[in-house]
Structures are given as structure tokens and as C-alpha cells.
Amino acid sequence: MAGIKEKYLQLKTKVETVVNEPQFDNEKSRAVTIAKKLIFGIFKIVILVGICYVVLSPVIGMVSHSFFSDADVYNPMVYIIPQNPTMDKMSMSYKTLDYLPHVSTALVFDLSLLLIQLIICSMVGYGFARFKFPGKNFLFACVVIMIVLPLNSIMLPLYMTFRNFPIPFPVISATGVKFTKNLLTTPWPMYIMTIFGCGLRSGLFIYIFNQFFRGLPKEIEEAAFVDGASMWYTYSRIMLVNSMPAVITVAVFSMVWQYNDMFYTKLFILSDKISMGKNIGGLTSTIANAEQITNPAILQLYLDAGIVLVILPVIILYVILQSRFIEGVERSGIVG
């Protein structure tokens, strides 16, 4: 006992000398800094892991549920990792969704729109970034209005416009000769709007390109001009090639938002061949009717499997391009 007490007292005097002597000031401040860093580090890790979990948990839940077997649903011991993993739900949803043909047509549709978006939006962005013309500031304000104005406010006029879309040649039908055509239920409204720079969030893409082009040095263009390049050549061969980050950003955004979009799909009554979202809406009722499954907890598994299948292409695209994509968002900035 006495020995321990002595040792304790010795230690205490040692600590006191360290605390009070000015010659140990450096060590003290270093210890404080290390402790601070450690505490902040732990705090940061806890917060980041927690937030990442909140973001990822629905995805994790859906992926794990899509491998559950019927018995796992009612087994209270099963959490996230299924006891008897099966591919039944996946293959059933795969068959019902008619997955490969539907996904490929949807992707082709989205890709073609993406190409048009890239060409048109970069052109318009270049026009705003590098040329001076009367009314430029007013017109650019119109681009900003396009970003800010909620589409819902012009939803009905757009519907009516494409319900009776004016065409240059006459259509002869039973009711008479008309110069309008009903374009709803065809993919044409999307193509027409995108070609005229009013597609899905085109305003934002024009803005991104404009910001990016403005950040590029003018000298390259001047050199090209002196060497006799035309404006179009300068744009397509020099500016566009140099704006890869912006191109990738816009490509990913356009692709993903178009793939996920339900607003235009519902408004223009696009067919479910080109909209996976619409497709998956009817998945559970089809399976319920075909397989005579009435248990909602089990139908939920089929829905989860279907959703995993539908978001798979988007996730793959994102994982491949993510680092360059986020870099692009930061550099070209949606930042004003």
C-alpha cells in the first residue's frame, strides 16, 4: 500500500513539474494539439459514417431484400443477410419486366436525347459565353428564368401544344384536312423540345456550359482565329474538346435525370417501352395476378428486386464516372 502511495506522490510531483515548468511548454501544447485532433477526428468519422449510412441504408435494404426467400420474411432472426438466399425474386422480376429489351430501348432513347442535349446546350452556352450581341444580358436572364420557373406552371399548355402540334403538311383523316397532329404517346415531344433547347433541365446545362467556357482562356480561340479557323470549327474542334469535365457532368446529369424522369413521361404519356419508371409501377400487380401471390410482404420483395434491376444501369454509370463527374461539377460549377 505504502509503496503505491509513494509512487503516486512521485508521479504527482513529476506531473506538477511538467505542468508548471515553462521549459515543457512545447510538449504541453503538442499534447493538447494531438488530443484536439484526435477528438475532432473521432467526431468527424462518427458524423460521416452516420450520414453515409442514412444515405445508403435504403439501397442496402433493397438489395438485401431482393435476395430474401419467402421464409426469411417472417424469420425474426434475419436482418439484412438472408438465411436462404435465392435468385427467384430477381429472375421473376427480370422476366416480368422483360428486362433486356426494355432497358436497351430506354437506354437508346436516353442516349439519343443526351447527344442532342450535349450539342444544343454546348452551342447555346458557347454563344452566350463568347459572343457579344444586343440583348445578351436579357436573354441570359431568360435562361436563368428557365432554370427557376417550375415546369408545373406550363404543364397544361405544353400538353395542349403537343396534343395539336402544328405540322407543315396536311393530314387527311375522316374528320377532314388538318394541319395539326397529335404527338402524345410518341417519343417526338421529347425530341422536339430537346432540339429546341427546352428539354429536361436544358436551362441548367446551358448555364453549366456557359460558366465553363467563360473559364477557358481566350488565347486558344484567338490563335485559331488568326490561323483562319471558322467560328464553327473553333467551337466544335477546340472549345468542345477542351471542356471534357463539363461534357461529362452534363452527360451524367442528362442521362440519369432522363432515365428517372416521370414528369414528362406522365405529361406526354410516353410508352412504357422507353420509361423504366412507368414499367416498374405495374410490376407488382402483374406478378400478383400471374403468380397468385397475395401476401404484400412477399410482393414487396419482388418490387425491391425490380427496383434494384432498374437502377442498376444508373449505378454502374455513376460508379464508372463518379470521380470525374464530381470533379466536373465542382470545376464547371453550377456555381454562379
Partner: protein
Amino acid sequence: MINKKNKKLTLAGRRALFGLAFISPWLLGFIFFYVRSLIMAIQFSLSEVSVDPVSGGYVLDWVGIKNFTYEFTAHATFKQIFASSMREMLINVPLVTFFSLFMAILLNKKFRGRTLVRAILFLPVILNSEAISEAISLAQQSMLGGLNATSAAIAETLNSSTANAAMYTDIFENFGLPRAVTEYIISMANGVNQIISLSGVQIVIFIAALQSIPSSLYEVAKIEGATAYETFWKVTLPMVTPHIITNVVYTVVDAFVSSDIAELAYTTAFKEQTYGLSNAMSLTMTFVVCSVLFLICYILNKFTFYYN
């Protein structure tokens, strides 16, 4: 001939023409799809629209502001949904702004796995799919048809979470915190998922803003002996204020597009076939949102510091 023409136009004039040529597709589209649609929307909202189902044409009967008075005085749910959407928006905007600024500051420093965390935080923007939420709600509707197993399950989870919330409210009330404050904090905690999924783009905007602050400012602050706390308030915050406006605008518009009022306008138009009323609803909301935006921008602009 051609030479003469070229001589008449100066280089600046030619460039102006080229500029107009570059933006012409968008300009045509904007006039045809946006300006024309807005004028049509105002027309629709001031009249009764009857659509001929065969030819698809429509007839407008001028009724003045009847649609607007109807939605505020006679419509069953418009006022409630309008108020709740506005409230949700006003609660979410400051939360999303603060949260995204906080996350941006955390993510701006270099650490291992930073790209991974950024990718994960941006994931909600990628998966922010109306399609998926729509599918889930549709599926739930069809399931609720004859069976009440899910509704029982939902009720159970709801009960458990409300029980928890009530317990925490009691605990904090015993500590002497006012009940309104605890309830606000608890509603924030319940909505944390929503807040995180709403702030993907905003975080990226703030990170870009933070990276554009010249490092010389921080060096000066350090040499002058500023603490990290002072540096934040005197350097970081003023430098990101311009982007706070961008973020607030983005959040407000985003909230409006996904709000219940947009949903209500959609059902009014395409399920109840009352096109005039639906247009009046969306125009009312657009007007209110624009004035809120204008007000917020006006106020924030007074506190905004422009470096250049």
C-alpha cells in the same frame, strides 16, 4: 458581291450574328415553348377550358378571376395543402443550407476516403427518382387493396417512432427545455433522411465555393493570429455568402417541384379534367414562390459580400 457584304459588316457585327446563330435553337424554343406557354397558362387560368375529346381542340370561356377565388374560398383541400407545402419549404430551406455548408466544410479538408464519402453523398441526386418513389407508392396502393398486413406493419412502425418521440419530448421537457423547441428538434431528427437527400447538389456547390477562396486570405489570417473560429466567421463565411443565395434558390425551386401542390395541380387537371382551375393553382403557387424567392434574395443580398 460577297466581298462587299463582308466589308459592310465589321468583325464585331459578324461575331454578333454568329452569336445569335449559336443561340438561335434555344431562342426559338424558348419563345415557342416557354413564352407562348406562359401566355396560354394565364389565359387558361382566367377561363373555363372545355376539351373536345375527339379532335383534341379546346374552347375557352372567359370567367375572369373566378378560378382564383374558387381555389381559395370553395376548394376542399387547396388551402391546407398550400399552407403545409409553404411551411415545409420554409422549414427545410434553412436546414438544408446549414447542413450542406457544414458538410462542405467537413468534406473540404483532405482525408482518406474523401472521394468515397463525396460519391455517397451525391448518390441521392442520382437516385432521386420520382419513378422509384412512385413505384413504391403505387405498389403499396395495390397491396392495400384487400389486405391490411402492410397497413398494420406501417401502423406498428409509426407507433413505435411516435412513442420514441413522445418519450424524448418528455425527457427534454423535464430538463426544462420549452416544448416547442424540443418538438422542432425532434421533427428535424425525424426528417434527417429527407434533409440529407435534398442537399446533394448544395454540398457540391459549397465545396466548389470553399475551394475558390484564395488561400492567401487564410495565410494572412494565420499570420495575424486569428483562431480557427475567427477565421470561419471573418473569412470563410463572408466568402461563401454569394453561393448561399444560389443554394437557397435551388432548394426553394426543388421543394416546389416536388411539393404536394404540384401533385394536386396534376390530379386536378388530368383526373378531374378541370384545366382552368389546375392552371390557376400552379400559377398561384409560382407567383408565391417567386415572391418568396425575391424577398429572400433581397434580404440575403444585404448580407452578401462580393469579393470582386
